[in-house]
């Protein structure tokens, strides 16, 4: 058998299928003349094709469900299969058993459904198919036992019987009443569509029955109603019926008016013959565009839609027992208005309930005025229409590709082959990969993806030896894959080779080279080699700027990566400039709301916070959080990071009450999305630790810090800078408890880690130095503490420049050492110096200023200067001092009982209480 023969057989087979049985014989006689074998083969094929397909009646594959006897399978729904069954207990009756597919119900969803079962049981309306029972099979598959409804979907029912518009409206009103009944019982359907409204005949009258109430709620929230898929050839959901609020990203925001919208769509279809948005158009556009359309675009009114139908208008009108022109006239006006009101994007403008909708229809039928008014111009103005969204661009690009493909296919055999080759080339790489899966290989237990990738790499090197560019491309991909999987060594090998190949054969200035540089830079950042990482991104940026210009998204991407690398290297100014540029490019090109903008804002806010510019950081973090919540949903990991950042910033701004909810949210999202042992939990945990420490709960703080250290060490290792963050916290906990030795250990360990991974000149080293100085001072080693602080001062001045707030802190810490050493004059001088710097850098109300006054007051009190001490305390309070230590500071012992002091203590307590309150 050859390919040509196979193809020829197909041609003849298909041609024969097109002909009637009578024509086939003569046709084949002629076509296969002289080739009896060919004829035989085609006859055999036709025989197989024509063979009647046996009905499957076996029910063995479906496990038995207690109390029910399965009879036959009646269909495949969006969520699973539907069986006709006989209920055995407590009463014998025919039911419909809906078996939900594996993987569609999570524990949370099952719990949610439990609560709704009660409500479902209470529903009792002729237009609602009752749900009798729900549970899970022995195998863990959820099922619903419902009233068995034998009927036709409402749209095909009306079409088949050619019901007039009035008859359709009367039927529809009943549907509304049914839904209304459910709402009164507290159940929202969420998934109303014609296939869920079956029309049956009861005593000669047509009665609509709504099925699948409550089922949608039981399905995992992630996939809600509109995004199900089946194994059996049904489609990814029914976007035509999705309401605007469901097309937004928060799926919990559904209420009764969502059902009203869906009813509106059904009404639209009953009147005009099609749904307001064309299903295939929606699907072809891609999810973002689909959602945008539903949320923002106004569909044509039913009459306009009918008008625009052209040829098919006649069919639609026929099925309503009228002609095209009359139908358009009929719909124009009140029916248009009623339908469009039900379809309002803004829920507030919709009918508030199905009963209201039904009422307006009744008014119409009785020739009374309806409540839906004519929409005004201003209202038509779509607030959200944006021309420059990437979503739209991307959709049109791919649309063009698809159309081009189809056009090619129809032009001629030669060019069709080209399209085929393109399609097949898409498979080549994959096949190359999968053929690495060696069937004859060693019969070991499990072949891992790593092994397969290794074999693929060998194949690439072997078979593409003389095609360096293809090899480079594949190796870049492999490198990315390995990076994604955490295989750093393999990734590096692949990417470095790919880079060499591309530089050698393409030159250093080509975008492909930049692409590999990006991949390599990302890998290096994961490994912590920030110098090399910066070099990669810097080179990539050069290339992109030269080739694409300064406003291109790839330029922005390189800038963002570069900024990140600069930040980790401690080059704050370079990082800040790069972020600002990247942000500007993205905002200009994508609009202020785009996800990439949200990402840049987040990164920038992290930098600003690290630089001490907390107010700016707060603003950036809030904006980034808002964008990400909108674009990605509330439980997304990126949202968690933004929330964590905001919490950390607020904590540093001394608003623990406000910070705490964000911090806890960050942790809970991280746990949910990454699992309990992922190192992505470390940062949220550490931040929570600080919050607890601030509140005085050292035990809770320690617990968090320890867990953070554990997850870091067990995943990225003991040398990763993140471990030092946790050690900072543990050191402070130890200090609080008076365990100087332990504190010293923690800080020294942290210092070693930071020096080792970030370099001795990195600003974060200052954190370890600060803690270490405190530990040494507490142990009485004042000389040692001072030496450490001198080093910190030098570092701070080098990194941040003169006059930075960090210097104020260093000076203050130094002062404390002198106090502990008993050298009050020197201490006083340093406190003043610190206050000066702080006031110049951050204003007179900065805590270093107010605390400076406080500490000066303590010093005064210790020397017996009561008057001086009280004055200084007042100065402190005037500048916002609010540390609870004032209540039991031993240094103020001499002033206890003094009414002035007590008044100030009370005031501080009040301030602390206020500060701890949530937003």
């Amino acid at each position: 058998m050859s390919r040509e023969r196979h193809a020829r057989m197909k041609e003849l087979f298909l041609a024969a299928c097109q002909r009637t049985t009578g024509e086939r014989g003569p046709f084949l006689d002629q076509a296969c003349a002289g080739d009896a074998e060919l004829r035989r083969a085609i006859d055999a094929l036709l025989a197989m094709d024509a063979q009647p397909l046996p009905e499957r009646t076996a029910t063995e594959d479906v496990e038995a469900i207690e109390g029910y006897r399965l009879l036959r399978r009646v269909g495949e729904g969006g969520m699973g299969e539907v069986w006709e069954a006989e209920q055995l207990e407590p009463v014998r009756r025919r039911v419909a058993l809906k078996l939900v597919r594996y993987g569609l119900v999570s524990k949370e969803a099952a719990l949610r459904f439990e609560s709704e079962r009660q409500a479902l049981a209470r529903m009792d309306h002729p237009c609602i198919a009752q749900v009798f029972d729900a549970g899970t099979t022995a195998g863990g598959r959820p099922y619903f036992a419902m009233e068995f409804v034998e009927g036709e979907a409402i749209d095909s029912y009306c079409d088949a019987r050619q019901l007039s518009t009035t008859e359709r409206l009367l039927l529809f009103v009943q549907v509304c009443e049914g839904v209304q009944h459910a709402h009164v019982k507290g159940v929202i359907h969420r998934d109303l569509k014609p296939s869920n409204v079956l029309v049956t005949l009861r005593d000669g009258r047509a009665v609509p029955k709504i099925i699948d109430f409550g089922v949608a709620k039981a399905i995992d929230g992630r996939l809600t109603e509109r995004t199900q898929s089946t194994a059996q050839g049904q489609w990814i959901g029914t976007p035509e019926y999705m309401s605007p609020e469901q097309a937004g990203l928060s799926t919990s925001d559904v209420d009764a008016r969502t059902d009203v919208y869906s009813l509106g769509v059904i009404l639209y279809e009953l009147l005009a013959g099609t749904a307001p948005f064309d299903g295939s158009e929606l699907r072809a556009a891609g999810v973002d565009e689909m959602r945008r359309k539903i949320r923002e675009e106004d569909p044509p009114t039913p009459s306009n839609r009918l008008n625009a139908l052209g040829g098919s208008q006649k069919g639609v009108a026929d099925r309503r027992r009228t002609d095209g022109r009359s139908l358009v006239k009929l719909l124009r006006g009140d029916l248009d208005r009623i339908t469009m009101r039900a379809l309002e994007k803004d829920r507030q403008r919709r009918y508030g309930s199905p009963a209201e909708l039904a009422l307006d229809i009744r008014h119409y039928l009785q020739n009374e005025p309806i409540t839906a008014g004519s929409p005004s111009h201003g209202y038509r103005l779509r607030k959200f229409c944006r021309r420059h969204r990437t979503g739209v661009l991307a959709a049109s690009l791919t649309l063009v590709t698809l159309v081009a493909g189809l056009a090619v296919a129809s032009v001629g055999l030669l060019r069709a082959r080209a399209a085929e080759r393109l399609a097949n080339r898409q498979v080549d790489l994959l096949v190359a990969m999968l053929d690495g899966f060696d069937p004859g290989g060693p019969a070991t237990a499990t072949t891992s993806a790593r092994d397969v990738l290794a074999r693929v790499s060998e194949r690439i090197d072997r078979e593409l030896r003389d095609q360096p560019l293809v090899r480079a491309r594949l190796k870049t991909s492999l490198g990315r894959i390995h990076t994604n999987l955490g295989h750093h060594q393999e990734a590096r090998a692949q990417l470095e080779e790919a880079l060499t190949l591309r530089e050698t054969h393409l030159g250093r200035d080509r975008p492909e080279t930049a692409d590999t540089l990006h991949a390599l830079g990302i890998l290096l950042s994961e490994q912590g080699d920030y110098q090399a990482c910066r070099q990669c991104f810097s080179r990539a940026l050069e290339i992109h700027e030269r080739v694409y210009g300064p406003e291109h998204p790839l330029t922005a991407a390189s800038l963002t990566y570069l900024a990140f690398a600069q930040w980790w290297l401690g080059r704050f100014d370079g990082a800040r400039v790069a972020f600002e540029r990247a942000l500007a490019i993205r905002e200009r090109g994508l609009g202020p709301d785009h996800e990439a903008v949200g990402e840049t804002l987040y990164l920038q806010a992290v930098l600003l916070a690290d630089m001490g510019e907390l107010e700016k950081a707060e603003a950036g973090a809030r904006r980034s959080l808002a964008i990400r919540e909108k674009r990605r949903g509330r439980e997304d990991i990126a949202v968690g990071r933004s929330a964590g950042l905001l919490g950390a910033v607020l904590l540093n701004l001394e608003s623990p009450g406000q910070a705490l909810p964000y911090l806890e949210r960050a942790l809970s999202i991280a746990e949910k999305r990454l699992g309990p042992d992922h190192d992505g939990l470390a940062d949220p945990l550490v931040n929570l630790g600080w919050a607890f420490l601030d509140a005085g709960d050292t035990n809770a703080a320690q617990e968090r810090f320890e867990r953070a250290l554990r997850v870091t060490e067990s995943t990225v290792g003991t040398g990763h800078p993140r471990a030092a963050n946790a050690l900072d916290g543990l050191g402070q906990v130890a200090l609080r408890r008076g365990d100087h030795a332990l504190a010293r250990q923690c800080f020294e360990r942290g210092l070693a880690i930071r020096e080792g991974s970030l370099g001795a000149d990195h600003p974060h080293v200052g954190r370890s130095l600060k803690g270490l100085s405190q530990a040494l001072s507490a142990a009485g080693d004042y000389k040692g503490a001072l030496a450490v602080l001198m080093r910190r001062r030098a570092l701070v001045e080098r990194v941040y420049g003169a006059g930075h707030i960090e210097l104020a802190e260093t000076l203050h810490l130094t002062a404390m050492v002198y106090v502990a050493a008993g050298q009050t004059a020197e201490a006083r001088r340093l406190i003043h110096a610190s206050m000066d710097v702080a006031e110049k850098a951050a204003g007179p109300r900065h805590r270093y200023v107010s605390r400076g006054y406080y500490n000066l007051a303590c010093l005064a009190a210790k020397t017996g200067d009561r008057e001086g001490a009280l004055n200084l305390l007042r100065d402190a309070l005037d500048r916002g001092f609010a540390a609870v230590i004032i209540a039991d500071d031993r240094d103020l012992a001499g002033l206890r009982g003094d009414p002035h002091l007590e008044a100030m203590v009370a005031e501080v307590r009040r301030r602390v209480a206020l500060r701890s309150a949530p937003e």
Binding site: L45, G139, L430, R673, D889
Partner: protein
């Protein structure tokens, strides 16, 4: 004395912000990249492969362990479950999903064949005994194939692939991925009519081939 013990809350490290570590994040990025530019199909298929491979392998062994012996494995259900687990559907659409399913179908087929071979070699129960395909070979409903039948089917498919790759691909996508005609058309970049014709012919061809009797694997 206030020691100025500041709470220096740690601002989160940025590493992950640039490179997502959650596999679901990564896969979603790959799929949505593909959604934006379908010319990346080959690359993104390769990038998806290891995730899909690992996930399907895990799911398959999970189900095999959970189901009582003698039960049927539904590869298409696994493929769909892998999709749900690995992809955030609020950020991808029809094209991306189809692409993902297409990759999964190929992986699934190979995982099943590999397992069937091991099973034949072991001559003992090794989890599932039957497999339900996405569409029927013989009847109108998908029936359950035993592992021997599966191996025969695989031989036939390999033979078909040598005669016409697209036909074999269509069959693989439908059997092991459960893709419908529209989705297959999208995955291969051809018209629905082409898919329907090819499918009709390929199916008849397979039935003829399989009816010829046992063709054991070499």
């Amino acid at each position: 004395m206030s020691l100025a013990v500041e709470c220096c809350a740690i601002i989160g490290a940025v590493g992950e912000a640039v490179v997502p570590t959650d596999p679901r994040d990564r896969v979603t990025v790959i799929v949505s990249d593909f959604e934006a530019d379908a010319n990346r199909a080959g690359i993104s298929a390769a990038e998806l492969f290891p995730f899909v491979y690992d996930e399907l392998r895990r799911l398959a062994s999970f189900y095999m362990a959970r189901e009582p012996a003698g039960h049927t494995l539904q590869p298409t259900a696994l493929v769909h479950e892998a999709y749900l687990r690995l992809v955030d559907q609020t950020r991808t659409g029809f094209k991306g999903r189809t692409h993902f399913l297409a990759v999964s179908a190929e992986v699934m087929r190979r995982l099943l064949i590999d397992h069937a071979r091991k099973r034949r070699a072991a001559k003992r129960g090794l989890g599932w005994q039957r497999v339900t395909l996405g569409v029927a070979v013989e009847g109108s409903e998908p029936e359950a194939l035993g592992w021997e039948e599966l191996l025969s089917l695989n031989v036939a498919l390999d033979k078909l692939a040598k005669l016409d790759e697209r036909e074999a691909r269509i069959v693989t996508l439908r059997f092991f991925g459960g893709l419908n005609v529209e989705e297959v058309a999208q995955a291969l970049g051809v018209s629905k009519r082409t898919v329907e014709s090819d499918w009709r012919y390929a199916r008849a061809w397979l039935r003829v081939e399989l009816s010829r009797g046992a063709r054991h694997e070499p």
